[in-house]
C-alpha cells in the first residue's frame, strides 16, 4: 500500500477493519482513527469549509482539528454530527459522511460562495442583510443557514444511555503525556487517591509518536508501557482513557466526559455510551500539553497542508504516510524532526522553507546532513491545486519572484501554544511569554498546578521532571506524604523554542486563513480593526474567529498576533479572549444523563390517583403533582363534563381529591404567637376545634399564599397551603423561625405527603358522610362551618374539616395517606344513592369563581394586597406586627386607584371572556389603548346559565355598576362591573 508503512506504529495489521466514508468502502486497521485510516487510503479531502465551502483536509491529528468534521453512524438514533475524524476510533462497519456539501464533496455547488468571497467579509451579515427588516426572518436567515453550516442534527431520538457519577480524589491529573504520567507515578507511588484522565484512546500523548528518546534507560515506547503497567497495578490509581476534562468549576470541581462504547461500534452488554464524571479533587495537576500553531500564509487551507507534528503522528503512531513529496514551512526546529522522520519513511522532502533568517542548531544540521534543501528567510507565497495541494510557491523574504515547487504535502509549524484552557477556566492568571510567543500560567487561584508543555516546557526531559515534581507537590497539597524525589534520566535531542504568531506576507492579495473552521482570514481581522474594533473580544465576535466548535485552539494566538500588528500594540495589550467550558464539545446526552423521559422530573401522585385514572380522569400538571382535571363520561368534552360535575355539587354531592394541598404541622408552646407573626389573621382567640382562613404576605405586603388552618390544640395548628406554595411557605416560615425568632418554641413539619384529603361537597354531603364516621357529631349545631374534629372514618383516624371552597355544605376529610383510596371508595359507595359525582380541578375552579373565592397565583400576581382582592377582613387590625404589615402602611398600598378585584358580567351572557384579556374604558381610543386591568378568571357558570368572570381593575370597586370594554381581535366585548360574588350572595348554603 502506497500510503501505509508495512511495519511500525501502534496499529494492528492482523486486524483489518472495513468502513465507509461518503458511501465508499475502505479498509483500515485496529488502532486507527478514521483520519489515519483515510490518510492510509490516500484520502485527504474530507470536508467543506463553513462559509466559502472550500475543500478541506486533515490539519491536525488530535482534538484541535478544525477541518475534518464528520457525521458518524448508520442509524439516525445513533448518528453524531461534527465529530473530529482525528478522534473517531475505527471499528469494523463504521459509517461516516462528510458535511456541508451538496451534491458531493468533490463537486459542491456551495463553492460558489468562494467566488463571492469579496462580498462575504467580516460582518457581512450585518452589512448586507439590513433591509428590509422583515426579510431577515423569512429570507435571509433561512438562506444563510442553508448555505453555511456544519453537520446536521439526527432525526431520531438518541437510543443510547448516558450515566453520571461523582468521584472524589486526592489528585486529579489531566493529560497522560510524559508530564502527566510522571506526575501520576509520583502521586500513585505516594499512595494518594489519584485519577488520571486523557482524551485519547491510548495514554502516552507525544510518547505515542516518539522514535528517538530514551527514558530511564528504555526506548520511549517501552518506558510508556512499563509506566502504564505500574500505574495499572496501583489500587489507588484510576486510569481513564477516552476521557476529556472539559470544564473547571469552582472549588476544584471538574467535569470529565468518558466515551465508553463509541469505539466498539456496537453495544456490548449494558454499558452506557458515555459517563459524565463529576470529580472533586483536593489537588489538580494539569498536564494538558501544547497545540502546534499553524502558519498564516496565502492559500494555507488546501487539503494536503497539515501540521508538522500531525504528520509525525500519522507516520509514527499509525504507519500512515500523508504524502510522497513534501514542502516544510516552519518557524521552529521541531518541523525539522518531522522532515527527517518522513524522509526516513521514504517521503521526498522538496525543501524546508524557514522563516528565520539564520536557522541553526543540531536539528538544522541533521537536516542539511541528510541532504534536505534548507532555505532560510523563505516564505510560502501561494499554493495551488483544486482539491489537493499540487504546488507551492516559495520566495525569499522581500523577493519579487518565487519558485513553484511541486508537492502533495505541505507541513507547517509556527511553534507550540500551551493548552491553558482549564487553567484559565479555574480563573488562574496568565502571563505572556515573549520568547515562546504564548500565554502561560502565572498565578494559581485554585488548588492546581500546571506541568510540562501546558506551562511552556517543551523539552521531554524537563517536562518529565516537572511532572514528577508537580505530582509530589500535589500529594503534599492534598495532605499526603510524598515519596522522595526521583530523577528520571531522558536522552533526547532537544530543540530551541522558537515560534511565530500572526500572518506572514500580509501584503499578499491571496487569502490566508486564520480560523479554518469558521473561515476567517487575515483580511477579515484587518478589516475589523480598520472598522474600529480594538478589543480582541469584539474582534472575535465581529469576525467569528475562535468561535467555532474548536474554540480557536489553532487560531486564537494567530488572530491575536494579527490584531497586535494591525493596531501596533504589544500582544499583552490586545488582551486574550476568555476560555470557557467545554474544552471540546460534550454531548447533550452526557449532561442529561438519566434525566430523560419519565426520569426527567419527579411526578407526584396522590393515593387516589389510580382510582381517578381508572375512572377516566383527564389529568393536569400542578407543580409536580398530577391532578384530576375532569372526569369525562362517554362522548363528553371538557365543557360538558364540567357542567355536569358543577351541577352535581350544587344539587346533590361531589367528591374531590384535595390531597395535593400543602400541609404544615405547626407545633409548640409559641405556635399561636408564631402564627400571629406569619399570617395576617389573629390566631390567639381561635379555639381548638375551629378553622380559620389564613392569608400570608411577603414582607413587601403582597399576598404570597393562603389556606385553611385548623387549631388542633392550644399548641398545635394544622396549616394548609396552596398546592404549588407548600415548599415556599415552609421555607419562609423556617427562615423567620431560624433567623429572626429563634427564641420561639415552635417546630414545623411538612405533612403534605402524610395526609390524603377528600373533599365532599354539596347539600347531601352530610348524609353521605354520617354513616361512615365514628366519634364525631356531624350535626349543624355540633359541627358548624369552619370547624375541625378528630375521630374515625371507616375505622381510620381522621381530622375532619367542615369547610367549603365551593359555597356548598362541605367537608374535607384528612386520613393517613395510605388509607386515601380505601376511604375514598367507601365514601363513593355510600354516595351512590345520591348520585355522588367525582369532580376535577376545573369544576373546583368554576365553583369557587361563582363564589368569588380567589386563587393565589390566578387572582394575585405578586403585586396584590389583601385589600385589592377584598380580603381586608382577614387582616388582624389590632395586631402589633406580622410579616408584611409595615409594607401595607406605605402610601402606594392604600391608593384608591389600585387594581381591585371585581366581577364582570358580559352584556351578552353567552360570551365567555378570555383569561388575561385587557380591559379598557373607551374601545374607540386609538391603539395602544389605556389598559385599566385584566380578566383573571372566566368560566361558563352552569348554575347561573351564563358566563362569569373575575378581574383586577384599576379603582374597580368604584366602577361597580358601570360598563367597561374588553377589546379582542374578533371585536369589542362590553361588560358590566359587579361585586365578585355571583352565586348565593348571602352564603346561606354554607350553613346547610
Amino acid at each position: 500500500m502506497k500510503y501505509r508503512l508495512s511495519s511500525g506504529g501502534q496499529v494492528d495489521r492482523s486486524k483489518p477493519l472495513r468502513f465507509s466514508f461518503d458511501g465508499k468502502g475502505y479498509s483500515g486497521f485496529a488502532g486507527d482513527t478514521l483520519a489515519s485510516a483515510l490518510i492510509a487510503n490516500g484520502v485527504h479531502l474530507v470536508g467543506r469549509s463553513f462559509k466559502y465551502h472550500r475543500p478541506r483536509g486533515f490539519m491536525s491529528a488530535g482534538s484541535d482539528e478544525p477541518n475534518a468534521l464528520v457525521g458518524v453512524g448508520d442509524d439516525e438514533a445513533r448518528y453524531t454530527p461534527n465529530l473530529r475524524a482525528t478522534q473517531v476510533e475505527l471499528f469494523d462497519g463504521l459509517v461516516a459522511e462528510s458535511q456541508n456539501r451538496w451534491p458531493s464533496l468533490s463537486l459542491d455547488f456551495g463553492g460558489a460562495n468562494d467566488a463571492l468571497s469579496r462580498f462575504l467579509t467580516a460582518g457581512f451579515y450585518y452589512k448586507t442583510f439590513m433591509w428590509p427588516a422583515a426579510a431577515w426572518k423569512r429570507l435571509y436567515e433561512p438562506m444563510i443557514r442553508r448555505a453555511a453550516g456544519l453537520g446536521r442534527a439526527p432525526t431520531a431520538a438518541d437510543a443510547d444511555r448516558y450515566t453520571q457519577l461523582y468521584s472524589h480524589c486526592d489528585v486529579l491529573i489531566v493529560g497522560a503525556g510524559p508530564a502527566g504520567l510522571a506526575a501520576a507515578l509520583a502521586a500513585g507511588r505516594s499512595g494518594a487517591k489519584t485519577i488520571v484522565c486523557d482524551e485519547q484512546d491510548r495514554m502516552g500523548g507525544t510518547l505515542l509518536s516518539e522514535r528517538e528518546a530514551i527514558i530511564d534507560g528504555l526506548p520511549a515506547a517501552d518506558w510508556l508501557a512499563r509506566t502504564l503497567q505500574e500505574l495499572g497495578s496501583l489500587s489507588n490509581v484510576t486510569l481513564l482513557p477516552r476521557t476529556t476534562a472539559f470544564g473547571w468549576y469552582p472549588h476544584n470541581f471538574l467535569g470529565l466526559s468518558e466515551r465508553v462504547t463509541d469505539h466498539l461500534g456496537r453495544k456490548e452488554g449494558n454499558l452506557p455510551r458515555e459517563r459524565m464524571w463529576q470529580v472533586r479533587a483536593k489537588e489538580v495537576v494539569l498536564a494538558t500539553g501544547a497545540i502546534e500553531r499553524p502558519l498564516v500564509f496565502p492559500d494555507n487551507d488546501r487539503p494536503g497542508i497539515m501540521m508538522a507534528e500531525a504528520a509525525r503522528t500519522y507516520l509514527n503512531r499509525y504507519g500512515a504516510v500523508p504524502g510522497s513529496r513534501a514542502v516544510v514551512f516552519t518557524a521552529c526546529d521541531s518541523a525539522y524532526r518531522a522532515a527527517l522522520e518522513l524522509k526516513g519513511a521514504g517521503v521526498h522532502i522538496a525543501a524546508i522553507a524557514d522563516v528565520r533568517p539564520a536557522p541553526e542548531g543540531p536539528w538544522v544540521e541533521r537536516a542539511r546532513a541528510a541532504g534536505i534543501d534548507v532555505r532560510p528567510s523563505t516564505l510560502v507565497t501561494a499554493t495551488h491545486g483544486r482539491l489537493h495541494i499540487s504546488h507551492a510557491d516559495l520566495a525569499s523574504e522581500g523577493a519579487s519572484s518565487s519558485e513553484t515547487v511541486p508537492c502533495d504535502l505541505l507541513l507547517m509549524s509556527g511553534g507550540f501554544t500551551p493548552s491553558v484552557h482549564l487553567f484559565s477556566q479555574s480563573r488562574g492568571k496568565l502571563g505572556y511569554d515573549e520568547a515562546l510567543k504564548s500565554y502561560i500560567p502565572q498565578k494559581s487561584v485554585e488548588n492546581e498546578r500546571s506541568v510540562g508543555g501546558c506551562r511552556g516546557l517543551f523539552d521531554l526531559g524537563a517536562s518529565i521532571a516537572d511532572g514528577f515534581g508537580g505530582g509530589l507537590g500535589a500529594v503534599r497539597g492534598a495532605g499526603g506524604t510524598p515519596v522522595t524525589e526521583q530523577k528520571i534520566p531522558v536522552f533526547v535531542q532537544s530543540f530551541g523554542q522558537d515560534g511565530f504568531i500572526g500572518a506572514l506576507n500580509g501584503k499578499s492579495r491571496r487569502r490566508a486563513w486564520v480560523d479554518f473552521q469558521n473561515d476567517v482570514t487575515v483580511k477579515d481581522i484587518e478589516l475589523a480593526t480598520r472598522e474600529g474594533f480594538r478589543s480582541i473580544e469584539h474582534v472575535k465576535r465581529y469576525t467569528t474567529t475562535g468561535m467555532a466548535t474548536d474554540q480557536g485552539k489553532t487560531s486564537n494566538m494567530n488572530a491575536l498576533g494579527i490584531v497586535s500588528h494591525a493596531l501596533d500594540l504589544p500582544v499583552p495589550k490586545v488582551g486574550l479572549t476568555t476560555f470557557r467550558p467545554p474544552y471540546t464539545p460534550v454531548t447533550f446526552g452526557s449532561f442529561a444523563g438519566q434525566s430523560r423521559g419519565k426520569l426527567f422530573d419527579p411526578v407526584r401522585q396522590t393515593s387516589i390517583h389510580d382510582w381517578a385514572a381508572e375512572h377516566g380522569a383527564v389529568f393536569e400538571d400542578v407543580s409536580l403533582w398530577k391532578r384530576a382535571h375532569y372526569f369525562p363520561r362517554q362522548g363528553e368534552d371538557m365543557h360538558a363534563a364540567v357542567r355536569r360535575e358543577c351541577a352535581a355539587v350544587r344539587n346533590s354531592v361531589g367528591i374531590f381529591d384535595a390531597t395535593t394541598l400543602g400541609k404544615i404541622e405547626v407545633v409548640g408552646k409559641d405556635a399561636a404567637e408564631f402564627m400571629n407573626r406569619m399570617y395576617t389573621n389573629a390566631w390567639t382567640k381561635l379555639e381548638p376545634g375551629r378553622l380559620r382562613y389564613g392569608l400570608m404576605l411577603r414582607e413587601d405586603g403582597f399576598i404570597t399564599d393562603d389556606g385553611v388552618v385548623g387549631r388542633m390544640a392550644t399548641d398545635r395548628f394544622h396549616v394548609t397551603t396552596t398546592t404549588g406554595g407548600a415548599a415556599r411557605v415552609l421555607a419562609l416560615m423556617e427562615d423567620y423561625l431560624q433567623t429572626e425568632w429563634s427564641d420561639l418554641d415552635v417546630w414545623l413539619t411538612s405533612t403534605t405527603e402524610q395526609w390524603a384529603v377528600i373533599a365532599l361537597q354539596g347539600p347531601n354531603a352530610r348524609k353521605v358522610l354520617e354513616p361512615l364516621v365514628e366519634g364525631i357529631d356531624l350535626s349543624r349545631e355540633a359541627m358548624p362551618h369552619m370547624s375541625v374534629r378528630e375521630g374515625r372514618i371507616c375505622g381510620v383516624p381522621t381530622r375532619l374539616f367542615r369547610v367549603s371552597f365551593t359555597g356548598e355544605l362541605g367537608f374535607e376529610i384528612n386520613v393517613p395517606m395510605g388509607y386515601g383510596r380505601g376511604v375514598w371508595e367507601a365514601i363513593y359507595a355510600a354516595g351512590k344513592p345520591f348520585d355522588i359525582t367525582p369532580y376535577g380541578t376545573e369544576t373546583m375552579h368554576v365553583l369557587r369563581a361563582e363564589k368569588g373565592y380567589i386563587i393565589v397565583g390566578q387572582e394575585t400576581d405578586g403585586t396584590v394586597t389583601p385589600d385589592d382582592v377584598g380580603l381586608a377582613w382577614a387582616v388582624g387590625k389590632t395586631k402589633k406586627d406580622f410579616v408584611g404589615k409595615r409594607s401595607l402602611a406605605r402610601p402606594a398600598m392604600t391608593r384608591d386607584d389600585r387594581k381591585q378585584l371585581v366581577g364582570l358580567l358580559t352584556v351578552d351572557p353567552k360570551v365567555v371572556l378570555e383569561e388575561g384579556a385587557q380591559i379598557v374604558v373607551d374601545p374607540r381610543e386609538p391603539v395602544p389603548m389605556t389598559m385599566i386591568g385584566h380578566v383573571t378568571s372566566s368560566y361558563w357558570s352552569a348554575a347561573l346559565g351564563r358566563s362569569v368572570a373575575l378581574a383586577l381593575v384599576r379603582g374597580g370597586r368604584a366602577r361597580i355598576g358601570k360598563r367597561l370594554h374588553v377589546p379582542m381581535a374578533a371585536g369589542n366585548i362590553e361588560v358590566e362591573v359587579v361585586t365578585p360574588v355571583f352565586y348565593d350572595t348571602e352564603g346561606k348554603r354554607l350553613d346547610g
Partner: protein, 104 residues
C-alpha cells in the same frame, strides 16, 4: 460547583444548598415605628459587593438549617461559615473550610 462547609454537617456540594441573600440584615423589632424610607432600606437595599460578602445559605437538602457564609465574590473562595448568632471570628481556624482557593 462550590464546596460549602455546613456548620452542622460538614463540607457538601453546592447543589445541597439554597442561597438566602445577604446576611446580617436584622428585621426591625418594631417595624411600625420606622418611616417609609427606613423600612424601604430594610426591605430592598442590599450590597453588591465585589470582594468579601456575608451571605446566608440554607442546607435545604441536608439539615435544612440556615447559616452564614463569608465568600469572596471575585474568587468564590469561602473564607468562613458560621451558625446564626455566631461571630465569624469566633470560628476556630481548624473548623474553617478548606479553601477552594487561597492564592499561592
Amino acid at each position: 460547583m462550590l464546596l460549602i462547609k455546613c456548620p452542622f454537617c460538614g463540607p457538601r456540594p453546592e447543589i445541597e444548598f439554597a442561597y438566602g441573600g445577604q446576611a446580617h440584615i436584622e428585621r426591625p423589632k418594631d417595624p411600625m415605628s420606622l418611616d417609609d424610607e427606613a423600612w424601604a432600606e430594610y426591605l430592598y437595599i442590599r450590597n453588591n459587593t465585589r470582594g468579601v460578602h456575608s451571605e446566608r445559605w440554607r442546607h435545604i437538602n441536608g439539615c435544612a438549617r440556615f447559616f452564614n457564609v463569608r465568600r469572596d465574590t471575585i474568587s468564590d473562595e469561602i473564607l468562613v461559615t458560621y451558625k446564626v448568632g455566631e461571630a465569624p471570628d469566633a470560628v476556630p481556624e481548624k473548623d474553617r473550610p478548606t479553601k477552594g482557593g487561597a492564592v499561592r
